[in-house]
C-alpha cells in the first residue's frame, strides 16, 4: 500500500501553471504538487457508512516523513477500544512494492504484511489504497474536457484515463474526472469510473487550508460509492507540517511504544 503523503497527496495527480495553453497533464501535475508535503503529523477520524447509514468510526493518529528515497508513515488506532494501540507502519518505495507492518497489542506481536493489490479498499473504507498514493503520471492520458464552476470555484474539468488494462486493474478504475480550480490548482471533486466505464464513486474535497510552506491541505474528504450507496469520510482533527519524530520511531521495533 502506497501510503505516501497519505490522505494528503490523496487522489490528486493533477497539475499545471497558470500559463497560457497549459496541457491537461501540466494542470494535473501542478495540482499534485500543490498538496505535496515532505513531512507531517495529524489525527483524523475515518467514518465508514454502509448503505443503510450505519457507521463504523475509527480514530487514527498518523505521522509521515521522507528519509532519502523512502517515505515512511506510522499510523496508530486510538478508537474503537478493541483496536486501540494497533499500529501500522508503511515504507513507501519509489520503485518497488511497499513494506508494511502491523503491531497488535492484544497479542503483543508485530507482523509484516505483504500485499500487492492497490485497487482495494483502504481500511475497509470507500477510499482505496490507490487513492492514498501518488501514481506515476506517465500511466495516464490527460484531457481538458471543459471549464465549469463548481461550488463557486472556477474549475477545469480534467479527464485522466488509464493507458492500459493493467493500469486500470492496479488502480481499480478506468478513468476519472477532476474539478481543478483555476489559479489555485486545488481539486474539489473527482468522479471515478469503474472498469466497465460506469460511474463508480464521487469524491468531494473541502476545507483546504494554506500551510506555512505555501502548500494546501484538505481537512475534509468524502467518497461516495454510487453503485452500492456506501460512503466514507475522512475528517482531519489536527494537522501540522513537518514531524519531529526521528527515523528510529519509524521502525517495526518501536511500534509497541
Amino acid at each position: 500500500m502506497k501510503t505516501k503523503k497519505n490522505l494528503i497527496a490523496i487522489i490528486l495527480i493533477i497539475s499545471t501553471t497558470m500559463g497560457f495553453a497549459q496541457t491537461a497533464k501540466e494542470i494535473s501535475e501542478k495540482a499534485s504538487n500543490v498538496i505535496d508535503m515532505e513531512a507531517m503529523e495529524m489525527s483524523l477520524t475515518l467514518k465508514i457508512y454502509n448503505a443503510k447509514g450505519r457507521v463504523r468510526v475509527r480514530q487514527i493518529t498518523m505521522a509521515s516523513k521522507s528519509f532519502g528515497q523512502i517515505n515512511k508513515t506510522i499510523m496508530k488506532f486510538i478508537a474503537p477500544a478493541d483496536v486501540k494501540g494497533t499500529s501500522i507502519l508503511v515504507f513507501d518505495y519509489e520503485k518497488k512494492d511497499d513494506d508494511m507492518w502491523i503491531y497488535m497489542p492484544a497479542i503483543r506481536k508485530t507482523r509484516r504484511i505483504i500485499s500487492s493489490e492497490k485497487g482495494k479498499s483502504f481500511m475497509g473504507s470507500e477510499f482505496t489504497n490507490a487513492d492514498m498514493s501518488k501514481p506515476n503520471m506517465d500511466n495516464f492520458n490527460y484531457k481538458i474536457l471543459s471549464s465549469e464552476t463548481y461550488n463557486g470555484h472556477s474549475c477545469w474539468k480534467i479527464e485522466t484515463s488509464c493507458k492500459n488494462e493493467d493500469i486500470e486493474d492496479k488502480n481499480g478504475y478506468s478513468k476519472r474526472i477532476a474539478w481543478i480550480e483555476k489559479g489555485t490548482y486545488l481539486c474539489y471533486k473527482i468522479k471515478f469510473y469503474d472498469l466497465s466505464g460506469e460511474l463508480h464513486k464521487v469524491q468531494s474535497i473541502k476545507q483546504y487550508k494554506k500551510q506555512a510552506n505555501g502548500k494546501y491541505f484538505a481537512f475534509y474528504m468524502e467518497m461516495k460509492n454510487k453503485q452500492n450507496d456506501r460512503k466514507s469520510q475522512m475528517i482531519i482533527n489536527k494537522f501540522q507540517i513537518g514531524s519531529k519524530l526521528p527515523e528510529s520511531s519509524f521502525t517495526p521495533a518501536m511500534m509497541d511504544k
Binding site: K52, R54, D82, T86, M100, M104, S115, G124
Partner: protein, 754 residues
C-alpha cells in the same frame, strides 16, 4: 333429453358462434403467457425454509451462484491458467456479478518469513515446471482454494460467479457463453447453477411446446384418419382438442400464473384425453350411418347425442374429479395443472356434446365406409382373444386373482427402493452440461448442496467464535461435508498467518475480543473487507456459517440437518438455519404430502362417485380395486426402476385414477346391462368384453398413443412420466378387463343384478 337435442340442433348457430367467440377470447390471454422455470418460486412463501432463507439473504445478500467448471489434464498448464485469468478479468468487469471467484481472485493467506501475506492464489502464471510444482504444493495447503476452486487431482478448476443481474437467465447465459467462446481453449467446460438450470429449462419448455404440440396434433389426426377414414372424423375431434387446449392454456395467464415445466404436459394430456368424447361421437355416428342408411343427418345426430350423453358426462366427471385432486397439492404447478386440465376436460365434454353435434348437422351424410366392414375382420381377431379371455375368467377366477396378488407382491417389494427426489437436478438429461458439472462438483469438489446457519451476537466475542469453530470441526468430520466456512474459520486461517507454528495462538481463535478485532484490522489493511461480507455483517452482530456438502437423497440431507441441530440447537446465539437444500427438502416434502393428499382425495372421491353412479357401496369398493392395484404397482415399479417421485411423476396417480376409472365404469355398466338378460356370468362377461371391452381397449390405446408423444420431450422427468402413465393405464385396463370380472364372478355383487 329430447329438449336438449332440439336445443343442440335448433341453436346450432348460437353454439358454433359461441365456440368461435371462446377461441377469440382465448387469444388475448394466450399472448400474455410467460414461462417461469424456477420451481423454487412455486413453493408457498410462508414455508419455514423460505422464510429462513429470506432472513439470511436479507443480511448477506442474495446468493445465486453459477459454477463454470474447466476440465483438462492439468489446470496449472500455462494455456489453461491464461484462459482462466482472462475470463476471470472479464467477469470481474461485468456488472452482472457481485462476486467472481477463481484461482486469480481467491485469497492465499499465509505466514512466511515473519510476514502475513494476502495474495491471490495465483499472482503470476508459472512458466517453468519447477514453479508450477511449487504453486501446486502451495495450493494444496490453501484451504480456501484446494478442493474448492481446484480439484484434488488438479484436473478441474472452477470460476464461481454470484449473479446480481437484472438480465433474464437466458440473456445472462448467452453473455457467458459468448465470453467463453471468445476465449477458446482445450479445456472442456460445463456449467451449473440455478440461473443456468432455469435458462436451460426455459429453453426446453419452449422447445417442447414447439415440438410436442404439432407432433401430438399430427399423430392424433393420423390416428383419427385411420380410425374413421373421414374428414369430419379428423376435423371435429381435433377441433375440440384444439379449443380445449386453448382454453386450458389461456387460464394460466388469466389466473396470473406462469408456465412451468409441468405446463408441457397440459396440451399433451388434452390430446390424450379430450378427443375421447369426440371419438365416441364419430364412432357412434358411423355405426348408425352403416346400420340405418335411411336416417337423416339430424336424426343420427339426435340419436348419437342422446345415447352418448350419460356415459360421456360420467366418464368426464370421473376424469375431472381424478385430475381435480391435484388442486389440493401444495406446489402451485400441480395445483395449476389440476385446475386448468379439469376445466379443459370439462370444455371438451361440453363441446363434444354441443359443438360436434351442432357441426355434424352441417355435414352431408358420409358414405358408408368400406373400412367399416374391413374393421370387422380385424376386430374378429381381437374378439377371439376377448372371448378366450372371458372363458378363462369365468372358469378360473381364483387363479386370476392369485396371479394378480403374486404380481402385486413382487411390485410391492420395489416400494422399499422407492425414492423421493431431493432436488430438481434430474430435470435435465444426464449427459447435459449441467449434470456433468454437478457430478464433477460432487466428486471432486465440496458438493453442490448448501446449508447456511446464521448466528446473532457480538461476532468478535471469542466464546461465540470458538463455538462456531468447534461446530465447523465436528461437521467437517462427516464424509458428506465438503467445506464449512465462517468468520471463525477466516480468523483461524489468519491466526496461522499471524502466528508461527508452535506458538500459543497458532491455528486458534484468540482468547480476547481485542485480539480478534486486531486480526480483522490487520486484514483490512491487506485484504479486501468484502472478503468477509459473505460471513459477517457490517456491525459484526450477525454471522453466517456456510456448509457445503454432497447428497443425492433426502436421507443424507436429513442426516446433515440432524447433526447441525444436535450440535447447535442449544446455542443461544443460533438465529436461523437456512439454505437452498432446506428449501429442496421442503419441496420434496411438499411433493410427497401433495401426492398423498391429492391421491387420497381422488381415490375417495372416485369411490364415492362409483357408489353414487351404481347406487351401491360394493360398486365403490370393487371399482376401487383396479385403481389401487394400478397405483401400488406403479409406485412399486418406480422403486424397481429407480424413477423418483418428483414434481412431474407426483401428478401421475391423480391422472391415472381419473382416466383409469372409466374402464371400470364401462365394464360395470355393461355387465349390469347383460346380467339383466342372463343369469350366466360367463355369458355376461363374454359379451361385455367383446363389446365394451373392445371399446375400452381402443380408448386406452388412443390415450397411450397421446401420452407416448411425451417420450419426445427434452425433459427426462416428462419421459419417465410418459412411461409410468402408460404402464399405469395398461394396469388399469388389464385389471378392469380381467380382475374386475373375476372378482364379480366370485362375489356376484348385488348391484350388478339391480
Amino acid at each position: 333429453m329430447i329438449n336438449k337435442e332440439i336445443f343442440v340442433i335448433k341453436y346450432k348457430w348460437f353454439i358454433i358462434i359461441s365456440t368461435l367467440l371462446i377461441i377469440v377470447a382465448c387469444i388475448f390471454p394466450l399472448m400474455k403467457t410467460t414461462i417461469n422455470s424456477d420451481l423454487m418460486s412455486y413453493l408457498p412463501d410462508d414455508i419455514p425454509s423460505k422464510i429462513n432463507n429470506d432472513k439470511i439473504e436479507k443480511v448477506f445478500g442474495k446468493s445465486d451462484p453459477l459454477l463454470i467448471v474447466f476440465e483438462t489434464d492439468d489446470v496449472l498448464k500455462e494455456s489453461t491458467l491464461k484462459r482462466i485469468q482472462t475470463l476471470s478479468k472479464e467477469f470481474n468487469r461485468m456488472k452482472d456479478f457481485d462476486m467472481v471467484i477463481s484461482l486469480f481472485d481467491t485469497k492465499n493467506i499465509k505466514g512466511e518469513y515473519g510476514a502475513m501475506i494476502v495474495d491471490p492464489v495465483i499472482k503470476r502464471i508459472p512458466k517453468s515446471e519447477s514453479r508450477r510444482e511449487k504453486l501446486r504444493a502451495e495450493i494444496k495447503t490453501n484451504e480456501l482454494a484446494y478442493k474448492l476452486i481446484v480439484s484434488d487431482d488438479f484436473r478441474y478448476t472452477v470460476i464461481i460467479l454470484n449473479s446480481v443481474t437484472d438480465k433474464t437467465d437466458i440473456e445472462l447465459m448467452s453473455i457467458i457463453t459468448e465470453l467463453l467462446d471468445k476465449y477458446p481453449g482445450n479445456e472442456s467446460i460445463s456449467i451449473n447453477g440455478q440461473a443456468y438450470l432455469r435458462a436451460e429449462a426455459n429453453d426446453k419448455i419452449s422447445r417442447d411446446f414447439m415440438v410436442l404440440l404439432p407432433i401430438g396434433m399430427l399423430i392424433m389426426a393420423i390416428f383419427l384418419w385411420f380410425s374413421f377414414k373421414e374428414k369430419r372424423g379428423v376435423l371435429l375431434p381435433t377441433f375440440v382438442v384444439a379449443i380445449s387446449i386453448m382454453i386450458a392454456m389461456a387460464l394460466i395467464p388469466l389466473f396470473g400464473w406462469q408456465l412451468s415445466v409441468i405446463g408441457v404436459l397440459i396440451p399433451i394430456m388434452m390430446i390424450a384425453i379430450a378427443n375421447d368424447y369426440g371419438i365416441h361421437f364419430i364412432a357412434k355416428y358411423q355405426e348408425l350411418n352403416a346400420k340405418h342408411p335411411d336416417m337423416t343427418m339430424n336424426e343420427i345426430t339426435k340419436d348419437v347425442t342422446s345415447y352418448l350423453k350419460k356415459p360421456v358426462i360420467l366418464t368426464g366427471i370421473t376424469t375431472i374429479v381424478g385430475i381435480g385432486g391435484l388442486v389440493t397439492h401444495v406446489m402451485l404447478p400441480a395445483k395449476q395443472m389440476g385446475v386448468v386440465t379439469s376445466v379443459g376436460v370439462a370444455f371438451a365434454v361440453l363441446l363434444s356434446l354441443t359443438f360436434i353435434p351442432a357441426s355434424m348437422t352441417f355435414f352431408k351424410k358420409g358414405k358408408i365406409l368400406k373400412s367399416f366392414s374391413e374393421n370387422q375382420t380385424k376386430i374378429g381377431f381381437l374378439n377371439k382373444l376377448l372371448v378366450k379371455l372371458s372363458a378363462i375368467i369365468a372358469k378360473r377366477p381364483r387363479q386370476i386373482i392369485y396371479i394378480f396378488v403374486s404380481f402385486i407382491i413382487i411390485v410391492i417389494l420395489g416400494l422399499s427402493h422407492f425414492k423421493i427426489a431431493s432436488d430438481f437436478d434430474s430435470i435435465l438429461p444426464e449427459k447435459h452440461s449441467y449434470n456433468i458439472s454437478l457430478n464433477i462438483a460432487n466428486k471432486h469438489f465440496g458438493g453442490t448442496k448448501n446449508i447456511s446457519v446464521m448466528f446473532e451476537g457480538d461476532m468478535k466475542d471469542p466464546e461465540i467464535l470458538k463455538r462456531m469453530n468447534y461446530y465447523e470441526q465436528q461437521l467437517e468430520k462427516m464424509p458428506e461435508i465438503g467445506s464449512v466456512n465462517s468468520i471463525a474459520s477466516m480468523i483461524r486461517i489468519m491466526s496461522r498467518a499471524i502466528n508461527d507454528p508452535g506458538e500459543e495462538f497458532y491455528d486458534k481463535i484468540p482468547d480476547s475480543r481485542e485480539a480478534i478485532a486486531q486480526y480483522l484490522a490487520l486484514y483490512s489493511m491487506s485484504g479486501d473487507p468484502e472478503d468477509f461480507e459473505d460471513f459477517v455483517d457490517f456491525d459484526y452482530t450477525k454471522a453466517v456459517m456456510l456448509i457445503q456438502y454432497k447428497a443425492d437423497d433426502i436421507k443424507t440431507i436429513n442426516k446433515i440437518v440432524d447433526k447441525i441441530n444436535l450440535l447447535m440447537n442449544d446455542d443461544e446465539n443460533l438465529s436461523v438455519i437456512g439454505g437452498t437444500s432446506l428449501i429442496d427438502k421442503d419441496i420434496s416434502r411438499a411433493i410427497a404430502t401433495g401426492q398423498r393428499d391429492s391421491l387420497i382425495f381422488a381415490f375417495f372421491a372416485i369411490m364415492i362417485l362409483l357408489m353414487i353412479i351404481f347406487k351401491s357401496k360394493t360398486a365403490g369398493l370393487i371399482g376401487s380395486i383396479p385403481l389401487l392395484f394400478a397405483l401400488v404397482s406403479t409406485f412399486g415399479i418406480m422403486g424397481w426402476t429407480g424413477i423418483e417421485l418428483n414434481i412431474v411423476t407426483a401428478l401421475l396417480s391423480s391422472i391415472s385414477i381419473g382416466l383409469g376409472v372409466d374402464y371400470t365404469i364401462h365394464i360395470f355398466w355393461r355387465l349390469k346391462s347383460e346380467l339383466k338378460t342372463t343369469d350366466s356370468y360367463s355369458e355376461a362377461i363374454s359379451t361385455s368384453l367383446r363389446t365394451s371391452g373392445r371399446g375400452i381397449i381402443i380408448n386406452a390405446f388412443s390415450v397411450i398413443v397421446g401420452f407416448s408423444i411425451l417420450f419426445l420431450s427434452a425433459f427426462p422427468l416428462i419421459q419417465y412420466f410418459a412411461f409410468l402413465i402408460i404402464i399405469s393405464i395398461l394396469l388399469c385396463l388389464v385389471s378392469a378387463l380381467i380382475l374386475i370380472p373375476a372378482i364379480c364372478v366370485l362375489t356376484k355383487p348385488k348391484f350388478l343384478k339391480k
